[in-house]
Symmetry: C2
Subunit: 423 residues, 2 copies
């Protein structure tokens, strides 16, 4: 009899270090490439990856109702996700069962274990999906309030639309990179006191976000309701919406951010399924005014996920500069998806939606340097360094996880280093 894959008592015969992000209750999906091999689907467990293509070839996944076993051998998860939510759940259940310390099927066949398990440190991760459209939202009340106070009216920081709809815009898909890939400081036009110049951005920032990945295509012309959203959202990643504030500032009126954002967006390689995040569901904040009918949602729409930003100047240890929770978000993912499709626009499998910067109420819970340094007015003080904005060589590290009943379900690290501009 199969056990609940979220049961905190479950243990795996694969070693899963205490405090690690990938216990048997997580089982996030990704695409990896072993040395000398081609990219294929895998699931993280402890410090290993279990190779779904190899598992399928050995016959272990036949019970999971896979219509076409080739979905595991592709360089993206798109075809696998398109099989739909009942299948996602069934597949995760089967993998959980195979990794359960009480199950001898795979555990006691070392010749198979050797073929299906790879050390994460020895494989190369790839983007988990082909991303057809990337939308970035702006759904933290605290973040929008901070930005409004800095750049508009401190007494009236929110724009008139903000509490009526989850503001969002389309971002660039060609520059979505994986954790570990360094990011180059972009050049662009910045306005100085007396001129307009093209050169390296002087106000480089991160934005702490999560992202959700679409696992089901919607019907063109038909809105996805908040109640249906769970069938469309496969899982989540951490996301760094790198921002060049000076480039953004000069360009963004009236059509929104463009080159100040389009040079890079970083995501984690492991997609944590919504099912694994289920234990962390909490109610979102009260929405006042109440949203229009198409944005209303029942139940616990938010997730209590701890999020942290660490900043490491070149050659120095990283130190934590932000600690917040995803539970603070004003607009939920279900509301974001309902809004995105409310005009009939269709989503496709692999679409990525960013949450917008996650900021909390406390001053050390703000998810960007723009806010943490209050637009440079209050630089962060480090042992041997101060930072209003990022400097070349800085590493930015995001961490995120839910924790309950002694089980930690995490995203793994999102890490990138800022390289100097080319110009």
């Amino acid at each position: 009899m199969r056990r609940d894959p979220n049961d905190p008592r479950l243990r795996s015969w694969v070693e899963t270090p205490a405090g690690g992000d990938f216990p048997i209750q997580n089982l996030p999906f990704g695409v990896f490439q072993p040395a000398g091999g081609v990219p294929r689907a895998g699931v993280a467990i402890g410090e290993e990856v279990i190779d779904l293509a190899a598992l399928a070839a050995l016959g272990y996944l036949a019970v999971a109702d896979t219509p076409d076993q080739s979905v595991f051998s592709r360089p993206s998860l798109n075809a696998l996700l398109a099989l739909g939510r009942p299948y996602w759940r069934s597949l995760r259940g089967r993998i959980s069962e195979l990794l359960d310390s009480d199950n001898a099927e795979l555990r006691d066949r070392p010749e198979h274990r050797e073929r299906v398990l790879h050390r994460q440190s020895r494989v190369r991760m790839r983007l988990p999906v082909e991303i057809g459209d990337y939308v970035d939202f702006y759904s933290s009340l605290e973040h929008a309030t901070n930005v409004g106070k800095m750049f508009r009216d401190p007494a009236n920081p929110l724009l008139p639309n903000w509490k009526h709809l989850p503001v969002g815009y389309h971002g660039r898909c060609s520059t979505i990179f994986l954790s570990g890939q360094d990011v180059r400081r972009p050049c662009g036009q910045r306005k100085t006191a007396d001129s307009i110049e093209y050169g390296p951005s002087g106000r480089m920032d991160f934005e702490l976000e999560t992202g959700f990945l679409i696992g089901r295509a919607s019907e063109p012309g038909r809105a996805v309701t908040t109640a249906e959203a769970a069938d469309y959202i496969f899982g989540m990643v951490l996301l760094n919406d790198w921002s060049a504030r000076d480039i953004q500032q000069f360009e963004y009126v009236p059509l929104g951010p463009f080159l100040g954002k389009s040079f890079a967006t970083s995501i984690t390689p492991w997609v944590v399924t919504m099912e694994a995040l289920e234990p962390f569901r909490v109610a979102g904040p009260l929405q006042d005014p109440p949203p229009l009918a198409y944005l209303r949602a029942e139940g616990a729409g938010n997730l209590d996920l701890n999020l942290e930003v660490w900043l490491g100047p070149a050659g120095e240890d990283a130190r934590r500069i932000c600690r917040t929770s995803f539970r603070h978000m004003y607009w939920s993912m279900a509301q974001q998806l309902a809004h995105l499709t409310s005009n009939g626009a269709s989503v496709r499998v692999g679409d990525l939606c960013g949450s917008g910067t996650v900021s909390g109420p406390a001053a050390d819970s703000w998810g960007s340097l723009l806010e943490l340094s209050w637009n440079g007015a209050r630089p962060l003080e480090f042992p041997g360094a101060r930072r209003a904005f990022l400097e070349d060589g800085d590493s930015v590290i995001f961490r995120g996880w839910g924790e309950r009943d002694g089980v930690r379900v995490g995203f793994g690290e999102l890490r990138a280093r800022l390289l100097p501009a080319l110009a």
Copy 2:
């Protein structure tokens, strides 16, 4: 000896009606699907399509240095375009040669002609490329001035950035549709005098644009210069950037248009090559202030293309409501591409860039109803109808062509009908 494929004296043995868009000097590329067949690459000539997959199978394209003949049998042109500009030119030259009335190779083999020629009216057109990213610019001075006069300051309509950079933003790829596919009126949030409501847009509009398609991937991190742009731009289409003005108006500050645009963008199925448009090159307007170095461009950067909008209320003949020229554009395509990549963002084969609404100096040369009716204040008068914005059942038709030495090189019609909202 091969002749210049743009030579106005060339004639084809395929009938090409006088005043038609597809004489032998054009040869636009597209993807078509014959009845009972699979999608494949084709070239329009007169009222026919020449089937490149069939031509290749019969050995006619071997001389065009095609490294892999399978590029013609795919459901998109991406792989074909990725072969690069020298190949694009060589292939077009070979097709021109085959269709030349003086060349008997194919002309005199009716059994081959029958296999390679299809009536356009009997095939189904498909999107010509898989579009990885879609960027829409805002590069007509007259359009930006009109919008600024209506919504901002009539005395000072241009925003401070406008003459310094080609303003642009990312649009949605999943809702790019072909000519002939009807467009449904979207629902969304609109602000009325005393409330905010969700319902069908009451201010539906078109935007007359062209689009260019990228045929070569750029190196991530490296800007494409204006001088290099010609190697990256394969060809052009007509583009209708459908806009719901009331939805856009409420949502667009501060992150730009989202649902007011993302429900639909229409393009023509035939991609007219930059080579075929070469005879229509003209100098663009004087740019003052002079652009920064990375945006400076030599030579004739604009194209003298006639553009028209026709509006047909349901059951009535369409009538022309706008007549303008693409030569008026302030920012050229080379400048747009240089700007888009100036922060290191890469382009990929199949990317689409919209010009922004094309408006000219005269009041009947403005490319949107917003401008033509001056935000509804001066509705257009028709026999039996008046229009401030679009009504259900209206057909919007764009036409575009260059004409020189008696040769007309056109895009074919971009046509779509507005369907009533579902809600």
